[in-house]
């Protein structure tokens, strides 16, 4: 647990120091400091993961040493240790990209990215509904401030995003208030022992779910996402799509897999799963039609989150532990792949001087590395073996196929795969156009392009540790 706390407090401390230092620290040094911070946090998270793997169970910590119920509890499960590691890695990667590639960011990006890192770590570790509310707010405000970094054109999307995010948090807070009113507790584990499926619980869970779905941009509450994610600076889009939307999903998962009574979860599960299926198709179709590259990538987030929602819904319906694994494999694979997609999209936009998909004609020649990264990461989104996306899909498919009455769900996965393939290869096919090449405005930035490729290779590399990952997540994953 100590390592987890260290991994959590390093970025927070660093954020404060960066704020204090202000202009005294040059922008470059601020960047280096933030990257080192994430790196240190990554190391701590790694040790934390080793600890958990050795203990092979969740570790609970009562903050302040107070008794259960009174104290806020933190919980370190295999999943949260993995997510700590994941968040730290993404911050290191995107930090290096933001600091050293041609895309420059303002000084406050570093403060915000440290706060984001810290609040995500706090979220993964928290097992207290109200504490989760605060981390959720932190996450939302950071995200909005980061979108606003893009400058004037992003203010409007940012303010819309902020209002939506506030509303979403309030829905969640209402649910928390009702739960506390009903059970007199905020602790996830204690609540899990107590909850019954009465009306209050039902309404509380429903409003919380609505709020969290809005925050996570799960269909049909996703309409804010493309504008916000597509207008942010490239590094920020990658963080938003890769990490920020995963926070609410974590809480949603916590609620339904632990707090909610089983019979209630079984009632709501199919609804969520169907919504996930629709998200897959609807998001994919929107991505297919989008004229702008970043919007396409943003819509693909909507679609891919459909997989996560499907996994969650089916987890609730069937109460099968594999579904935890499927859900979190999707989240991690999608995070890595999406980081690549946004970085590559940003690089291609800068180099080719266009934001349109049609401007990518000839991209395999003009920006080969970025385009290759885009295609490779796209392969994971489609779920081609042996990528991380395939691992997740495989784990999701297995229980679906095991008995004939579940086969219709597999059809949803099939549809999702085809739609994702359609929008990814729409981009890839255009890039092979040699007849009407769009000439680059500037020379490609080598570092940025290769950095974009890195997470894509990692998501394919997940295959190497696939079996271990699945076992690690299913062993005491809850």
């Amino acid at each position: 647990m100590t390592y987890a706390l260290v991994s959590l407090s390093i970025p927070l401390l660093s954020a404060l120091v960066l704020m204090l230092a202000g202009a005294r620290l040059s922008k470059r040094n601020a960047g280096i400091m933030a990257i080192l911070t994430s790196l240190l946090s990554l190391v701590a998270a790694w040790f934390c993961l080793l600890d958990v793997a050795a203990a092979n169970q969740s570790i609970l910590l009562n903050l302040g040493g107070w008794e259960n119920g009174l104290a806020i509890r933190l919980r370190l499960s295999p999943l949260s240790s993995l997510l700590l590691l994941f968040a730290a890695f993404m911050h290191v990667l995107i930090g290096i990209y933001a600091g050293f590639s041609r895309q420059s960011v303002s000084r406050d990006f570093w403060t915000l990215s440290c706060v984001l890192h810290g609040s995500l770590a706090a979220l993964w570790l928290s097992a207290d509904l109200f504490n989760l509310y605060i981390t959720l707010e932190l996450l939302g405000l950071t995200a909005v401030a980061m979108v606003a970094l893009a400058g004037k054109k992003a203010y409007k999307p940012a303010s819309n995003y902020l209002i939506l995010s506030l509303v979403a948090s309030l829905f969640y807070l209402l649910g928390v208030a009702l739960v506390y009113g009903r059970y007199g507790s905020l602790d996830v584990v204690l609540l899990g022992l107590q909850t019954q499926s009465d009306t209050t619980t039902r309404i509380a869970l429903l409003v919380m779910t609505a709020g969290l779905m809005l925050k996570a941009a799960l269909w049909p509450l996703h309409l804010w996402l493309p504008a916000a994610h597509a207008n942010a600076p490239t590094a920020v889009s990658a963080l938003l799509s890769g990490l920020v939307v995963k926070g609410p999903i974590f809480i949603l998962w916590l609620l339904w897999s632990e707090v909610a009574p089983v019979d209630l979860a079984q009632q709501i599960g199919p609804v969520l799963a169907v919504a996930g299926m629709i998200a897959l198709v609807a998001g994919g179709l929107s991505a297919m039609r989008s004229p702008y590259l970043k919007t396409l990538v943003a819509y693909s987030t909507v679609a891919q989150l459909g997989y996560a929602m499907m996994a969650l819904g089916l987890l609730m319906t069937w109460q099968l532990p594999q579904m935890h694994v499927a859900l979190w494999l999707f989240v991690i694979a999608h995070g890595l792949a999406k980081a690549t997609l946004f970085l590559a999209a940003g690089e291609m936009q800068t180099t080719l001087g266009t934001k349109r998909v049609s401007g990518l004609r000839g991209a395999t020649q003009t920006v080969p590395v970025a385009m290759f990264a885009f295609a490779v990461a796209g392969g994971s989104l489609i779920g081609l073996p042996p990528s991380g996306g395939f691992l997740a899909k495989w784990v999701l498919l297995e229980p679906m196929l095991s008995s004939p009455q579940n086969w219709p769900w597999a059809f949803g996965v099939l549809l999702g795969t085809l739609v994702s393939a359609a929008y990814i290869f729409r981009v890839v096919a255009i890039s092979f156009d040699r007849a009407r090449i769009n000439p680059p405005d500037v020379r490609p930035d080598r570092l940025g392009h290769w950095l974009a490729l890195l997470p894509a290779l990692m998501v394919w590399g997940m295959a190497l540790i696939g079996e271990w990952l699945i076992e690690f997540l299913s062993g005491g994953g809850v």
């Binding site: 109200f130 605060i134 707010e137 405000l141 909005v144 401030a145 606003a148 004037k152 054109k153 203010y155 409007k156 999307p157 940012a158 303010s159 902020l162 209002i163 506030l166 509303v167 309030l170 807070l173 209402l174 208030a177 009702l178 506390y180 009113g181 504008a227 597509a230 207008n231 702008y292 970043k294 919007t295 080719l352 001087g353 266009t354 934001k355 349109r356 401007g359």
Partner: protein, 116 residues
């Protein structure tokens, strides 16, 4: 009906009123006010729930204090953001394209040329 129930209903009513207004208006300031009202409704519910016992539940009061800080921070940020967004000329397209940039460049060139 007791006083507590009255305040519970009031809280729910204020929340719903805020939600309704949020969905009905497009003016950002009014939407922000609506969000604040929703928050106030929730706080009302929480305080009413705290009042079930005597002395009132300190945990809920503490949560509301925390919630208030979060609300004022977010409100201040949102207001600043809204005013900043309003300052920006809304005529600009959110995603300018190479073509349109070129077009605007040409236009300004033309303007440059036509200057005496």
């Amino acid at each position: 009906m007791t006083g507590l129930q009255l305040y519970l209903i009031l809280g729910a009513a204020v929340f719903l009123l805020g939600l309704h207004a949020l969905l009905m208006t497009t003016d950002s300031i009014r939407r922000l006010i609506a969000v604040n009202l929703m928050g106030a409704g929730i706080f009302l519910i929480m305080v009413a729930l705290a009042g079930r016992i005597s002395p009132p539940d300190p945990v809920l009061h503490a949560l509301v204090v925390t919630g208030l800080v979060v609300a004022i921070s977010a409100t201040a940020f949102a207001l600043r953001l809204i005013t900043a967004a309003a300052r920006i000329d809304s005529g600009q397209s959110a995603i300018p394209d190479k073509a349109s940039r070129l077009a605007s460049k040409t236009l300004s060139d033309v303007a440059e040329d036509s200057r005496p």
